[in-house]
């Protein structure tokens, strides 16, 4: 037994898969220690905030110290940020439509461009454009109004009695705050999702839940498959006929169709993560049963089984001591495959909207489902679905690697 364990860990593929899985498990275990709070908490007001560091503006203004830094490219950066090339091209389009000769407009000379713009732009001029386009130009016009100004911004407070504005300070363009001195800074490495939840926190929790679902479903499927396979293969006769009849029924109806039907009939309200796991487990044991059965059939006429019979052992003892140990490694491999396919099954179910209730737990499948409903893939909100896909791929990849590794250890004919 020890010997086999050592061999297993000498298999490069198994070790690689095992390391990936352990890394994921460590992430699941350690991440919540640093980022506390409900992974389903809705923190963003709006959908799909992009990944990045969010600095509280109010706290920045009231930071204990302001520093003056004279950086050469600060103004250029500011303009490039607020008026990217795309918007400048749009401005040119408007101006050309308005009647300015095209040669006079140079989108790279921002100062000249802005001069022409402010001289000619009229928010009430529709130029036959659609309403959305008109709004776009109005917004653009507002946002670039002070682009070239070198003045700061005056801060004012409202006098609680008179209601008048009183100047309390000024923010210059060369003013900086140290981010460490800002009270509220939140890093959202993967932004937020359609509900305004922190995607990374949700992803870590979803991975844990999906692994749990996989484990529960895999263990259920393997236990059922193992028991039925052992009974059918060893006892044979009408027991075998009966079990194979049921197994064939389940084979003819694809298990995924069955899964859909059962999930659907349970109803949205009653579908928790555990329920889904059980349903997946109950519909995916067929393959294990068949595999175990054929293994057992090849074992039951072996001489060591005959010797055990001659030593007076009961059927139960023979199945548990003379048959099971011989297929145990095989069962472990089947379990690993079942776990990874159960995770995929949950994801597929959830994408169809038949997964667990959204309000309880996140799962990888549910995250995909919502990203799709809100068309994250069309709008280019990659952070809402790409990390989820990568996570699913990592889990199944690591498990399949482990499986291939085990296969090579237990099945010498596959070794190089």
């Amino acid at each position: 037994m020890k010997h086999t364990l050592r061999q297993v860990f000498h298999s490069g593929k198994f070790v690689a898969g095992f390391c990936i899985l352990v890394a994921l498990l460590l992430l699941i275990a350690i991440y919540p220690l640093f980022v506390k709070g409900d992974p389903l908490a809705i923190i963003g007001q709006g959908t799909f905030f992009p990944p990045g560091t969010y600095v509280n503006t109010y706290d920045s203004i009231y930071a204990p110290n302001t520093y003056t830094l004279n950086l050469k490219d600060a103004a250029a950066n500011r303009i490039a940020q607020r008026l990217p090339e795309k918007d400048r091209e749009e401005m040119k389009t408007w101006l050309v439509a308005y009647g300015i000769p095209e040669e006079q407009i140079d989108v790279n000379d921002i100062k000249a461009l802005l001069d022409i713009w402010f001289e000619n732009y009229d928010p009430n001029e529709s130029l036959g454009m659609i309403y959305a386009k008109q709004r776009y130009y109005q917004r653009l016009n507002d946002s670039i109004r002070n682009l070239l100004s070198i003045e700061g911004v005056i801060l004012a407070e409202k006098n609680p009695e008179t209601g008048e504005l009183q100047e309390v300070g000024i923010v210059n363009q060369t003013d900086y705050v140290n981010i460490n001195e800002v009270a509220n800074v939140r890093v959202l490495p993967l932004g937020t999702d359609n509900f305004g939840r922190d995607v990374l926190t949700e992803l870590v929790r979803a991975t844990a839940v999906s692994l749990e679902i996989g484990l529960v479903a895999g263990v259920i499927a393997t236990l059922i498959g193992l028991t039925l396979g052992l009974l059918a293969g060893y006892i044979g006769g009408w027991v075998d006929d009966f079990i194979m009849f049921i197994t064939n029924l389940f084979t003819v109806i694809p298990s995924f169709v069955l899964l859909i039907l059962i999930s659907f009939s349970i109803g949205q309200e009653k579908r928790g993560a555990v329920t889904i796991a059980i349903v997946i487990g109950l519909t995916s044991w067929v393959w294990t049963t068949r595999a175990v059965r054929s293994q057992v059939m090849s074992l039951r006429n072996r001489d060591h089984v005959n010797l055990s019979k001659l030593s007076g052992h009961s059927i139960f003892y023979i199945i548990t001591h003379d048959i099971f140990p011989y297929i145990a490694s095989y069962v472990v491999m089947a379990l690993i495959l079942q776990i990874s396919s159960a995770i995929l099954a949950e994801a597929s179910l959830s994408i169809l909207g038949l997964g667990p209730r959204t309000t309880d737990v996140p799962t990888l499948g549910l995250m995909m489902n919502w990203a799709m409903i809100y068309q994250a893939h069309i709008m280019g909100r990659w952070w809402a679905y790409l990390p989820v896909i990568i996570m699913i791929a990592l889990i199944t990849f690591s498990m399949n690697l482990m499986n291939t590794g085990l296969d090579q250890v237990f099945n010498p004919t596959l070794r190089e």
């Binding site: 001489d303 005959n306 030593s311 007076g312 140990p325």
Partner: protein, 275 residues
């Protein structure tokens, strides 16, 4: 033949068909034989003639398609676990391939303890059990202290077959079916094993059914010989009758395959060591 000790095991028209339809194999075809107490009987046949199948039928490890088996004059009944247990206390076997005869997950001690538990029940003290196991190992020229806590697959083929004989020594069955016990091991260990089987017959009075493809061995060991061909018994009688005056061409061919049929086996090659 053995001063009136009577019929021990008898079968009538025993038939076994494997599979069905096109893949049907007639492995044993209407075999009838009678084995007497304390006798040594050989069943000789070429590969695939159904010897192992016949042994399994007699042992009750497979159900016959047809035919009846009588044990100690009564029709054999192994319909329940309890009755099977009782039957197997009386009839034991040594299999052809020692390397696949043992459960690789169980230790030698377990193999021997199973036999003690089966024969004498479980309320025996640990010391008593160890004593019995040591005695059994001594019978086959091995040392229990060297075997304890080892696995059977750590032994050589010859040692494994001797462990099998130690099992039989502990169980003390009336009948032992030895299915080509020496076909997978070297010539040196072969003589040792054969000698131990003879010792079992002489000291414990075990009836021996010896299955072999080597008619020379049959001549050397047994009083009665059955010749088997394609599932049928084609010739039978005392060893002298069958081997010195064969009637069937098949038997003559089997004899011509063995060069030195009349030579006595040289027992000086018997090795009495634990290797």
């Amino acid at each position: 033949m053995d001063n009136g000790s009577g019929s021990c095991l008898k079968c009538i028209d025993l038939t076994k068909i494997y599979g069905m339809g096109r893949t049907k194999t007639l492995a044993v075809d209407h075999v009838s034989l009678e084995i007497h107490n304390k006798e040594i009987v050989s069943i000789v046949g070429e590969s695939g003639s159904g010897k192992t199948t016949l042994a399994k039928l007699l042992l009750g490890l497979t159900e016959p398609t047809e035919g009846e088996i009588y044990f100690l004059g009564k029709k054999r009944d192994i319909s329940t676990h309890k009755k099977r247990l009782e039957y197997w206390k009386n009839i034991q076997a040594i299999f052809q391939d020692p390397y696949s005869s043992y459960n690789i997950f169980r230790k030698i001690d377990d193999v021997l303890l199973d036999c003690i538990n089966m024969r004498d029940g479980k309320n025996i003290s640990r010391e008593e059990k160890v004593h019995m196991m040591s005695e059994a190992c001594r019978f086959v020229n091995m040392k229990f202290e060297e075997l304890t806590n080892k696995y059977p697959f750590e032994l050589s083929g010859g040692q494994m077959q001797r462990l099998m004989i130690a099992r039989v020594f502990l169980l003390k069955p009336k009948i032992l079916i030895a299915d080509e016990p020496t076909s997978m091991i070297d010539a040196c260990s072969r003589a040792t094993i054969l000698d131990m089987l003879l010792k079992l017959n002489a000291e414990e009075g075990t009836t021996l059914i010896f299955i072999t493809h080597d008619i020379g061995l049959a001549y050397y060991l047994s009083q009665t010989v059955y010749i088997m061909k394609k599932g049928r018994i084609v010739e039978s009688g005392t060893a002298e009758e069958v081997i010195l005056h064969p009637k069937e061409a098949y038997t003559k061919r089997l004899i011509s395959d063995v060069p030195k049929i009349r030579e006595e086996w040289d027992l000086s090659t018997v090795v009495y060591s634990t290797e």
